[in-house]
């Protein structure tokens, strides 16, 4: 990296770092395949003179353990400065920019190569651009770690107990949750999901989480779910937050009355699971997405909390999960998993995650898996 020095006459030296390519120096470009959906999400592979075979077989240059992909699915060759894809009589076919290819086909810069649900993008990039992309990946990792560092520790020694699992997807999402004491009698728990992925969603997620953790809504009664959601809506209007909005479930448990008051906005229900796991009670009130409308009409719900019951809060990434054939698990099919008996040595969120993973296609999940259980 070129640097220049500037001596100010005292003991201060300022170093200038230049990111631009110096005049006369030819920037090196390469052709890359980047996995943007499916198995190996985020993987970046540089093409060279040797043909690259993509398939399920372990001998392939790019191995994709995905049922949509044939053992030897397609070949990609860099020839005369052009990238050419050829289908190898695959079962599901190879598509370039949405069109099935029957003969060797040029992949222009930015084009999309699809094999079932496996999606790969061709990028012609300079080494500097690749370095920047890698730095962005590292920033995403930092953003993900920062969100995780703000989540509360599980509670095992006092009542209610809380246990959770968050498994971030390859793209950073905007899920977060929290819980804790509001006073001697009241215990709050919440989970929210910011629209989209990436650093923007993570940043908004951190802002919301800090507002809720530090109770930084002036004049707001945090024991009132509708008041909290209304104030969040006023604070996080999408026009002021890069077009992002979020869904949320927020509940306050009163130990003395053994009662839960709650409100939700744009979020699917939380579920109260009875101690013998025979009864699931959906807990949801009607409320639109937070940040979309200036005025909100919110409702508050309440329910008695029997001793030994559990509250399950989760994000849509838990059930918007596809199997190898493209079938989605869905909320309806998730619910029977909540009734199943506990697994020795695993927390409830871990047990649910294992079940969802068994259903899901191989590779990382498309969205964050965020699951919080509060045991009363």
């Amino acid at each position: 990296m070129p640097q220049s020095e500037e001596n100010l006459g005292d003991r201060t030296t300022i170093l200038h770092r230049e990111d631009t390519v110096p005049v006369g120096v030819q920037e090196e470009f390469g052709h890359y395949l980047v996995v943007i959906a499916g198995t190996g999400l985020g993987r970046r592979l540089r093409l060279d003179a040797a043909p690259l075979i993509i398939g399920r077989e372990s001998q392939c240059g790019l191995v994709l353990a995905n049922a949509d992909v044939s053992r030897r699915h397609c070949r990609v060759v860099l020839k005369g400065g052009e990238v050419v894809a050829t289908d190898l009589n695959s079962t599901n076919g190879t598509y370039v920019d949405g069109k099935r290819i029957r003969e060797p086909t040029v992949l222009p810069d930015g084009s999309i190569l699809e094999m079932g649900q496996q999606v790969i993008k061709h990028e012609r990039r300079s080494t500097r651009e690749v370095r920047e992309a890698q730095e962005l990946d590292r920033d995403l990792e930092k953003a993900r770690n920062y969100v995780l560092s703000l989540l509360p520790a599980p509670i095992a020694m006092s009542s209610p107990q809380a246990e959770w699992l968050i498994v971030p997807s390859a793209r950073v999402g905007g899920d977060a949750f929290g819980y804790g004491e509001l006073d001697d009698d009241k215990f709050v728990s919440f989970l929210f999901d910011v629209s989209g992925h990436g650093i923007g969603a993570a940043m908004l997620s951190v802002s919301i989480l800090n507002v809720l953790r530090q109770r930084a809504l002036p004049g707001c009664d945090f024991k009132s779910p509708t008041q909290v959601l209304g104030r969040l809506n006023a604070m996080f209007q999408m026009e002021n937050h890069n077009g992002m909005f979020f869904t949320i479930w927020y509940g306050v448990y009163d130990r003395r009355q053994q009662k839960l008051v709650y409100a939700s906005a744009g979020h699917h229900p939380a579920y109260l699971v009875s101690s013998d796991r025979t009864k699931l009670t959906p807990l949801k009130t009607d409320g639109p997405l937070i940040g979309v409308m200036e005025e909100l009409s919110l409702e508050e719900g309440s329910t008695k909390i029997p001793q030994g019951s559990s509250l399950h809060l989760f994000s849509d990434g838990v059930f918007e999960v596809d199997d190898d054939n493209g079938w989605q698990l869905g909320l309806t099919n998730l619910l029977p998993l909540l009734r199943q008996p506990p697994t020795e040595g695993r927390s409830e969120p871990q047990r649910i995650y294992q079940s969802v993973r068994q259903f899901a296609r191989s590779g990382p999940l498309d969205d964050d898996f965020s699951y919080l259980v509060v045991n009363f």
Binding site: R171, G196, F245, G266, D286, L289, V292
Partner: protein, 112 residues
């Protein structure tokens, strides 16, 4: 994700096909927004062949609906599949964007 746009006078009919996940929205959002928003056209959107919608898809519809409203135009969605409609019901999208059963109703609603 595929998009077809048919513009007739001051009215746009948009047909979407595929999954409105992050990748799908990336593919069509510029074309969708650019075709209907600048001229403030009343717009009906055919969702019969949309099999999945994620938050980025909701965000696209909400943003377009709001921009059209500022131009005194209206967007109406019609015929969502059950799984997509379930998402709309959860987030109460109909409070922001009208959702109706078929095209004829959508056209009537958009023009009213």
């Amino acid at each position: 994700m595929e998009i077809e746009i048919l513009v007739v006078e001051n009215f746009a009919r948009v047909k979407l096909r595929g999954r409105l996940d992050t990748l799908g929205v990336d593919k069509i959002e510029s074309k969708f927004t650019g075709s209907v928003v600048p001229d403030g056209k009343n717009t009906v959107v055919d969702l019969r062949e949309v099999s999945f919608i994620a938050s980025m898809g909701l965000r696209m519809f909400i943003a377009v609906a709001k921009q059209l409203r500022r131009r005194n135009a209206r967007m109406v969605l019609f015929a969502p599949q059950a799984q997509v409609n379930e998402v709309f019901q959860t987030v109460l999208l109909h409070d922001i964007v009208p959702i109706v059963a078929d095209e004829a109703e959508a056209v009537r609603y958009a023009a009213s």
